[in-house]
Amino acid sequence: MPSIELLETIVFPWLLIDSGGAIVHQKIAGLFPIPPNAVSEKSLEHCIRAIPGWSKCPTGFSVFCVRIADQKLVFPGLRILKHTDFHGKQPEKAVWLTQQEFQDYLSRAFLRIGKIEAQTSEIVATNVHDIRRISTDIYNATVKLIERLDAGVVGNVPLEIAKNIDALTDLLRNRINFIDYLSNPLLNDAPRSRIKVYNKFHKLWKSMKPTAEARGLTLRMTGQSESYTQGISNLFDLIPYLMLDNAVKYSPKKETVTISVQENEGKIVCRVTNWGPLLSEDERSMIFLPGFRGSSAVSSGVAGSGAGLATLLRIVKDIHDGELTFTQDDTRIVSGDNDTPYVITHVDAVFGKISS
C-alpha cells in the first residue's frame, strides 16, 4: 500500500475506501478539482459500491476504481470522451480524456510510486544493515577491550582495540551524515570553511583500514598534498567515505584498493582505484544517476541502493564545485564470483585550491 503522501502526487481527485465501505482518505482538490455534482450523496454512494474498472455515477460523470491491497482507490468526477454523459454546466477548466489516456497516466503514476518506494526501502534497508554491522563490530570490540582491561592487560593490545573502536565510530558517523544529507537538503546551505583535502582522505583511510582488512583487502594510500579547498566539513567527509565504501564493497577479496591524493595543474586530484564490476558502454554514462546499478554489480550479489555514487556526485559537484569522473580499464577483464566480470576502475574527484 503506497503512502498517502505518494498517492497525493496523483493529479486527479480520489477517494480511498476501506473494505467496510468507509472513506479513509480523500484528495478533493488538485490540478483537476472535483465537480460538486460528482460528490453528491448518490454519487458518493456509487463510488463506495464501485467495483474495479470503469462505471458511471448517477450524475453522469465517469468513475474509475482500482484495488490497492484490501482497499479501493476511486476516481470520481472524471470527464471521459465517449463515456461521460453529464450535461450540466461545465466549468471553464474541464479536461476531457479518453479511457486509455487516463489508464496510461495512472499506470505511469503507480510505476513511479512503486520505484520511489522500492528505492526508499532499499536505502533504508542498506543503511540499517550497514549501521547494524558497524554497531555489532563496535560492541564486540568494546567487549574485547573490557575483557583485556579486566585481565590487567596494558600496552599495545588495548590501545589497538580502542583505535579500532574509534575507527568504527568514524564509519558510523559518516553513515549517519549520509542519511542526514539524503533526508535534509538544507545542509547544502551550511557556511563553507577551508578543508585540507589530504587529511580528510587520510583520516578515512585509517578508519576504513580495519574493515577492509577484515574483508581480506589491502587499503593503500599514496600521494601528497598540503592544499585546502572550500567546503562544508561534515559533508566533505562523505566524499572519501562514499568513494572508499563503494570500492571496498565491490572489490573481490585479497585485492588492493588504492587512494591517491595529489596536486596537478593547480587542482587537488583524489583518486580511488580498485577492481570493480565491469560497466558496459551504455551503463557508463548512467553510473552517477540516482538508483542506477550496473548489471555486473547486481550479478555480483553485493547489496546496494544506487544512492551512494549519485549522492557523491551531488556533494562533489554542487557543493564543492569539483569534478567527478569514472573510468575503467577494459583491456583486462577477469571473472569473479557468480561469473561477474571485473576490471580496474578509477573514480576521480578533483577540487580547486584556495590559499591556506
Binding site: 546551505d189 557556511p191 585540507k196 587529511n199 566539513s233 561534515n234
Partner: protein
C-alpha cells in the same frame, strides 16, 4: 611631470597588510593564537569536546544560556547549540534566534552553530547568519581545524577590515573617506594597537564623520577582535 607624479602622497590599501599577516602566521605557532582567543560555548547540555579542546590550548568557557547578550562581550568566537538554548527569548527559533541576536549586536564575532539533529527549520535560520556549522558528533580534529580556521580569520587584519569596509559604505561613508580611514589603519598597523587606534580616531575627527560611522569604527577599535589583530 613624472617627478610630480612620484611626489604625490600614495594612499596605502588594506592589501598592503597581507605580507605582515603572512609573516605573523609563519612566525607564530597556532597554539599561541589559540591561547589568545576567548571562546564561549552556549549549550544547555554537557559540551563533550570541551576537555579535549582545552587540552589543545583553546580557551573555552561554558555558558549554559544567555540571559543578557552582553555576557558574550569578551569572547571572539561563539559556539552555539541550536537546540535547548535561547528558549526564553524565542521558544521556536531557540539557538538560531540567539545567533541572530549575537550577529546583529556583534557582527565582528565568529559564530559557529552546531546541532545533533539534521532536519530542522532552525538550520535554515542559523545558516543565514552564522559563520560555521558542525554536527554535534564532529571529531575533535575537525573541531580543532574549524576553530583554527576561525582564529586565523579573526586575526587577519585584511579580512576584518574588508568586512568593516562593507559596513562603513552601508552607512554612507564616501569612497574617499573610506580610503583615508584605510590608509590610517594600514599606515599605523605595524606600530601596534595603540598607535593604530589613535591614528584612526584622529582621521575620523579630521574627516568629521557622522555619528553612525563613528559608532561603527569605535565598535571596532574597542572590540576584542581589534586586540587580536596585533601579535
Amino acid at each position: 611631470m613624472l617627478n610630480w607624479l612620484k611626489k604625490r602622497p600614495q594612499l596605502l590599501s588594506i592589501g598592503d597588510l597581507q605580507e605582515s599577516y603572512k609573516e605573523r602566521m609563519q612566525s607564530e605557532r597556532p597554539i599561541q593564537r589559540r591561547r589568545s582567543v576567548e571562546i564561549a560555548v552556549i549549550d544547555d547540555e554537557v559540551f563533550q569536546p570541551a576537555e579535549a579542546l582545552r587540552a589543545n590550548q583553546f580557551q573555552i568557557t561554558i555558558l549554559k544560556d544567555l540571559s543578557d547578550i552582553r555576557m558574550i562581550d569578551r569572547f571572539a568566537i561563539i559556539l552555539c547549540d541550536l537546540h535547548g538554548v535561547g528558549s526564553q527569548l524565542n521558544a521556536i527559533q531557540q539557538g538560531a534566534h540567539l545567533i541572530r541576536e549575537i550577529k546583529s549586536n556583534y557582527p565582528e564575532k565568529y559564530v559557529i552553530a552546531y546541532t545533533s539533529t539534521g532536519q530542522s527549520p532552525l538550520l535554515q535560520a542559523a545558516f543565514a547568519v552564522c559563520d560555521g556549522y558542525l554536527s554535534k558528533d564532529t571529531r575533535i580534529e575537525d573541531w580543532v581545524s574549524e576553530l583554527d580556521s576561525a582564529v586565523d580569520t579573526l586575526v587577519n587584519p585584511v579580512n576584518v577590515w574588508k568586512k568593516y569596509r562593507v559596513r562603513l559604505l552601508d552607512v554612507g561613508v564616501t569612497p574617499s573617506e573610506l580610503a583615508a580611514l584605510e590608509h590610517a589603519f594600514v599606515a599605523a598597523f605595524n606600530k601596534g594597537q595603540i598607535e593604530t587606534k589613535n591614528r584612526v580616531e584622529k582621521t575620523m575627527t579630521d574627516l568629521a564623520l557622522s555619528a553612525d560611522v563613528r559608532a561603527i569604527i569605535n565598535g571596532l577599535i574597542s572590540s576584542v577582535i581589534f586586540k587580536l589583530l596585533f601579535p
